[in-house]
Amino acid sequence: MAEAIVFWTLAVLILGLGIMVISARSAVHSVLFLVVNFLLVAVLYVMLNAEFVAVIQVLVYAGGIVVLYLFVVMLVSLKKAPERYADPRRVAWTGTLLAGAVLLEVVAIVVASSGGGEPAATEGALGAADTPFAECGAGPLVSCNTEQLGWVLYTSYLIPFEVASMLLLVAMIGAIVLAKRHL
């Protein structure tokens, strides 16, 4: 019972913060809401006995990646309204379509995995960290401690894991190419 209360409170808070992230006027405030959001998600993991994932969530997302977001956002001149940065070629309906597709996909994965079927391993390419998290949350009775997580990652999910790392490498090289003026 207590667990349910905590879960629903957290769920509402996380969703609320998610909305705050996209609706906040100042980009820095958005990022702050995102950080709190991630921390709450970490609490959710702790509730699922996935301490390792929780800690990694804080370490990698809250402590690392979002810091970089903040880094970039801070440099955006706040004198101009955000609309000024909008791409004139932006096509709204493509985005809506893509978002809808992703939503469908996620729902499909959840339905498939809770049905006891094989999780779609190839979806791992979607994002590096998505797969283990989804797995921990949804997997039946996997007490997600560090050792087991390692086993799972390096056996059944080896290929997605490697694909994800390749993706990250590509992203890193791309970032360097973009940022470096003279190579």
């Binding site: 001149s77 791409d87 004139p88 070629r89 973009l178 940022a179």
Partner: protein, 377 residues
């Protein structure tokens, strides 16, 4: 048409240049220097010095004061090296009036000037190291500077603005036992110099922060009008004490330390060597002080004949020149001009900092060793 603009901004980030004001209130600008820095990230792409915050019109004031009253005003220019300022001015007037200064006075003047160089370099070392983050050196260097100030206090009663010389000689003879104290200070200072060098000279971080920072070649340094240690750091053998000897320098032996690379580290090494050369000079001069009067034959009313002259000495900061015009009638100089070494060295700052990082700016302000009282006058 509309497609063009976003494409350029996508391939080439439009990064804003950040303009920051370093000073006039900043812990590392050694006074009220203001440097307007244009930054690309942390890299300096342009710098502009704004000076004049403590311009007191010393030149204008001096043109309305008696010849003897001006000595006191020169104290207030480079206030960490007041004695050399006094010396430069007195010698210029002596040159205008063709006064012969007794040998004893010249020797004592040399001792005072070299003690002053040690005091000034102590202050430079402390603040320069502090700017780069080695704060202990600051306290050590100030501790030794206190000894010099004590010596000056014993000689003339003042610790900062000495008013220590007179046209034609010195106001006072050295107090008894003073020469021995000077010599024991020399011994002490030599030991302390080794302490400083232990902390800095081979320190990896110090080397990283100073090697290759603010490199300037000899010809360019000459063209920019650098003087003193910044010029010698670029390997130009220019020292007024050697080239145009004054006081007792032509009778004493000393070397002029020269750099090779012209970077901040070389300028640091040169000043450390100058400490040692100063000690050597002081020892020779103190031991060689002859007996005799301390004042030359000076008329009661100082009124140099009409004429003009430029006379330079080597102050701790570089070539300190006085250009004085006398109209031969009034009891004050018609034109009194100081060629301040800090001013001319500061001019090179823009050239030195361009392309370096913000952190190097403070190192470079430190390395050219400015005193704003002299820059602004």
């Amino acid at each position: 048409m509309t497609l063009e603009a976003p494409r350029t901004s996508a391939t080439q980030f439009d990064t804003d240049e950040l303009v920051i004001n370093m000073g006039p209130q900043h812990p590392s600008t050694h006074g009220v220097l203001r440097v307007v820095l244009k930054l690309d990230g942390e890299r300096v792409i342009d710098a502009d010095c704004v000076i004049g915050y403590i311009h007191r019109g010393i030149e204008k004031l001096s043109e309305n004061r008696d010849w003897t009253q001006i000595i006191l005003l020169t104290d207030r220019m480079d206030y960490v090296a007041a004695a050399t300022n006094n010396l430069g001015y007195c010698q210029t007037v002596e040159k205008l009036m063709q006064i012969e200064v007794p040998r004893r006075a010249r020797y004592i003047r040399t001792v005072l000037a070299e003690l002053q160089r040690i005091a000034s370099h102590c202050l430079w070392l402390g603040t320069h190291a502090m700017d780069i983050g080695a704060m202990t050196v600051l306290l050590y260097a100030f501790r030794e500077r206190e000894f010099v100030l004590d010596l000056f206090e014993e000689f003339c009663g003042a610790r900062l603005t000495y008013n220590a010389m007179r046209i034609g000689g010195l106001p006072l003879d050295i107090p008894p036992g003073w020469d021995r104290k000077v010599l024991s200070f020399c011994d002490l200072m030599e030991g302390k110099l080794n302490d400083y060098e232990t902390l800095l000279t081979n320190n990896r971080i110090w080397l990283k922060r100073t090697r290759g920072v603010g490199v300037i070649g000899g010809d360019e340094a000459i063209g920019l009008g650098l003087c003193g240690p910044p010029l010698r750091g670029s390997g130009v053998p220019r020292d007024v004490r050697k080239d145009e000897p004054y006081a007792a320098y032509d009778e004493l032996e000393f070397n002029v330390p020269l750099g090779t690379r012209g970077d901040t580290y070389d300028r640091y090494l040169i000043r450390m060597d100058e400490f040692r050369e100063s000690i050597r000079l002081i020892r020779q001069a103190v031991e060689g002080i002859p007996e005799g009067p301390i004042m030359g034959k000076v008329p009661r009313l100082i009124k140099p004949p009409a004429g003009e002259t430029y006379h330079a000495i080597e102050s701790p900061k570089g070539e300190l020149g006085y250009f004085i015009v006398s109209d031969g009638k009034s009891t004050n100089p018609y034109r009194f001009r100081v060629r301040p070494p800090s001013f001319c060295n500061l001019q090179g700052l823009k050239r030195l900092v361009t392309g370096h990082l913000v952190a190097d700016v403070v190192a470079l302000i430190g390395t050219i060793d400015i005193v704003l009282g002299e820059v602004d006058r």
